[in-house]
């Protein structure tokens, strides 16, 4: 396998426009004959489907949920970045680019990130025209806020529903094309595998989740916008249907998987309350602007928080990071919280939480001011936890939130399998080892609206119309494999449920490939995962039939893929002998616990090639060396 990122030459600012001038175009007549499959209807999938259909391609779009509008993107709260500089506070495309590269701890491609920053402005234009009701000022112009510790106010937002509103914009544009007959729209259809013929992606096999029927779809190109794999942890802020299946099956058919261990953990989530917990809920980071994070100084201090005097409270972020205090970046806040609970200082019934206290802010600004800023969040917290945060400090804990890793793609968003593309959270592209707040929405939409429509044209112009249809043997054989797998899962008929396995897997991954990692634990995780995977195939119990709606069967497939991915994540984390971004290897930190990045040996993207699975995952690492021509690599410090 050869990794060619295909980065256009020339100055940073001109690479994309130059590339646009160079790409091949498909003639309008030909577009009508070309069929593109888009899997996923999140921001990436919906925007790409709409845009490609408008261009005249025949498009087929698939999603798991009963409507495209329910894709996980809908849950994003905070906002979307763009370099509009409406606030006149010195923002620019370059600055957004620079912040993103730096935020990613220098593990992403300069050219991609620059393009992203550049396209960010077009996204806002497009969304506003679609009727996305972004926050506005009294004069009627768009409002911005500063997000995730950025020095400029470049985040556009729509109350706490930015993802929902952006997705509705893209979804509605997509539905218009569905209505015009330009898109074949398949809901409750799960992609089970990619069909690759002579090394080129030619279609997919889907399962109709209502009837259980396996269906073959052929196309001239296949695009995956299937989201992230945070659910490998079982508990995460991802929607329950988020999965790795589509990208993993693509991986097993030849697409390299990049940086699988780069996982972002969000520090302000509502903690787990019991074993039955099915997912975690995120609360906006903005809470840390006024809340103070603390734990009792001594382990086992069971007094109610209000009775613990100030001198016995450990405001650990403020003490450890005097200049940033409670506003340290996500990864630093998360890591410290975990350290506190590891040391037995955690609070609440489970001991897996720290306090986020608004006592002082309320005393300073008054309850009304705090309520005006955070009223919604306080209500949400109270609804879930049953405690009133105006009176008792919130309990928070980090939770898995976003996966920077994903399918390796070149500058054109094409994977290592020709004709197979990946966009949005499903690819690894723009966030390096850590994603800045409000930039995932930006990336999904940039990919879908403004990158894929051109780069796929370039590919299709060269590849021409495919003559392979679903009668080709390859379709039959992949469909058979899928069928066999379904039968196999249903026939195990063991003792443990899918959820039970998933929960156990999640705990292994969280404990060992979570906020901090070390060689010993990673190695142990690998053997544990292998053993559990073995047991899964011997002992899983999946009820019901394959021929009707069967959520447990769906989940069983996805969990089976998570098992394989988890092992790869461990290899990846093990390989990376440095700490960078969200990846903290305990062996590579200063005595004070600061990450030590190693640019000399690790300034590369890890792209893994699937070889075999035989009790053990056989995989080969390929490295895409990252060149930094335009920015200078600096060490992050928040002291």
């Amino acid at each position: 396998m050869k990794l060619d990122p295909k980065i256009p030459s020339g100055p940073l600012e001109e690479k994309w426009s130059k590339h646009l001038n160079d790409v091949n175009l498909v003639s309008p007549n030909n577009k009508r004959n070309m069929h593109v499959i888009v899997v996923g209807t999140g921001l990436a999938g919906a925007s790409a489907s709409a845009s490609l259909a408008e261009l005249g391609y025949k498009v087929s779009t698939f999603c798991i949920q009963d409507s495209g509008r329910r894709a996980h993107s809908i849950a994003a709260q905070g906002g979307i970045n763009a370099a509009k500089n409406y606030q006149n506070d010195g923002d620019s495309v370059y600055r957004l680019f620079y912040d993103t590269i730096k935020g990613g701890d220098y593990r992403s491609r300069e050219a991609n990130v620059y393009r992203l920053a550049h396209l960010s402005n077009n996204i806002i234009d497009q969304a506003v025209s679609q009727g996305v009701p972004f926050a506005r000022e009294y004069g009627g112009y768009l409002a911005n806020r500063s997000f995730g510790g950025a020095q400029v106010s470049r985040t556009f937002y729509a109350r706490g529903q930015t993802g929902q509103q952006l997705l509705m914009g893209a979804y509605q544009s997509m539905m218009k094309m569905v209505n015009e007959g330009k898109i074949n729209y398949y809901t409750r259809h799960e992609m089970m595998d990619v069909v690759v013929v002579d090394g080129v992606a030619r279609g997919i096999i889907t399962r109709d989740l209502v009837t259980g029927e396996l269906v073959r779809h052929s196309a001239d190109a296949v695009i995956l916008g299937t989201g992230g794999y945070g659910n490998v942890f079982y508990l995460s802020t991802n929607a329950k249907n988020s999965n790795v299946t589509a990208t993993w099956r693509a991986h097993k058919r030849g697409a390299a998987f990049a940086n699988p261990s780069f996982v972002q953990v969000h520090p302000t989530c509502i903690p787990v309350s019991g074993d039955y917990q099915s997912k975690l809920t995120l609360m906006s980071e903005s809470l840390r602007n006024d809340g103070r994070v603390w734990v009792p100084r001594s382990a086992g201090d069971n007094r109610p928080p209000g009775e613990i005097p100030d001198e016995e409270r450990y405001y650990y972020l403020e003490e450890r990071y005097p200049s940033f205090g409670n506003l340290v970046p996500r990864d630093v806040a998360s890591r410290n919280a975990k350290q506190m609970t590891d040391e037995g200082l955690g609070v609440g019934e489970t001991g897996l939480a720290v306090y986020l206290d608004f006592r002082d802010a309320i005393a300073r600004d008054g309850k009304d001011v705090i309520s005006a800023k955070y009223g919604n969040l306080f209500d949400m917290y109270e609804n879930i936890s049953g405690e009133n945060p105006y009176e008792v400090p919130m309990r928070i804990y980090p939770a898995v939130h976003y996966t920077m890793g994903g399918l390796w793609v070149d500058y054109n968003l094409m994977t290592t399998v020709p004709g197979l593309f990946a966009m949005g959270e499903a690819n690894f592209s723009d966030h390096g080892a850590n994603r800045l707040g409000a930039s995932a929405l930006m990336q999904g939409l940039a990919d879908g609206y403004f990158v894929i429509p051109f780069t796929i044209g370039d590919y299709l112009a060269e590849a021409g119309v495919s003559t392979i249809d679903t009668t080709h043997d390859a379709f039959a054989s992949v469909e058979n494999e899928v069928q066999e797998r379904i039968d196999k899962i249903l026939n195990v008929n063991g003792d443990r449920t899918v959820v039970d396995f998933h929960r156990t897997l999640g705990r292994i991954v969280w404990d060992n490939i979570g906020i901090t990692r070390n060689e010993k634990d990673l190695k142990k995780a690998i053997t544990d995962i292998q053993a559990l995977r073995e047991e899964f195939w011997q002992n899983v119990k999946v009820p019901g039939k394959a021929t009707n709606y069967n959520k447990n069967l769906e989940f069983a497939h996805r969990v089976a893929d998570f098992f394989e991915l988890a092992e790869l994540m461990a290899y990846d984390a093990l390989d990376r002998g440095e700490s960078c971004g969200c990846h903290l290897r305990e062996e590579y930190q200063t005595p004070e616990g600061e990450a030590i990045r190693n640019d000399k040996d690790y300034a590369y993207v890890s792209a893994w090639e699937f070889k075999d699975l035989n009790g053990k995952l056989e995989t080969e690492l390929h490295k895409e060396t990252l060149e930094f021509e335009f920015v200078e690599m600096k060490q992050r410090s928040y002291k």
């Binding site: 809908i74 849950a75 506003v128 009627g140 729509a158 929902q164 539905m175 879930i384 049953g386």
Partner: protein
Amino acid sequence: MSQMTIHLKIWRQDGPEAKGAFENHTLDTVNEHMSFLEMLDVLNEELIVAGQEPFEFDYDCREGICGSCNLVINGRAHGPKRLTAACQLHMRNFKDGDSIVIEPARAAAFPVIKDLVVDRSSFDRIIAAGGYITVRTGSAPEANSIPVELEDSTFSFDYAACIGCGACVAACPNSSASLFTAAKLSHLNRLPQGEPERQKRVLAMVEQMEKEGFGDCSNYGECEAVCPKGISIASIAEMRRNYVKATLAG
């Protein structure tokens, strides 16, 4: 932590054509912090282990935003609590020993797929008929070239908040989709961007809503009461006004 015993009576239906019936189950390990869906998860896990089939129900985000969940709990869409989707409903809203009846949303336009899962693709088709603003990718003008009065923008947003859960239909005595349809119309029609297609939009969406087999609106207002996003039926009146204008203009 208090444990509760809950008696459940849940609809079981094998498929769209099958005849359904209720099934009774008692759970005695319910924790007040559980969400309603987590309580069903626990039941399902017990059923699977006991060799029975679990109950199917729709969900995804479990935080009240995707609109997947839509259970009718003791005769109320999304359960007893206002402005709360079923997935955000916590068991502390129930008492030890309570009996709870769970049914799917019932409407001709929402046929049952299995158990508590229904087919809401009719909503997709209503949006497809006109619930959009036509703007080709790339043809949008600079965002700040279209100022929007704050009042219009706020108004529009209040209706854009709809999550498409279908609770309004489930609760409406007439199974009307008026609130869902009107919410989208109020979102788009009030914005300057949505102005050019305003008349076409309202006619097309109303026509589609009727084609799908939803009932008429008798202004019962139950839809607003169950709507997890508190969408106001004022939008329904607004839809009628726009409809009249569009008809007279034509």
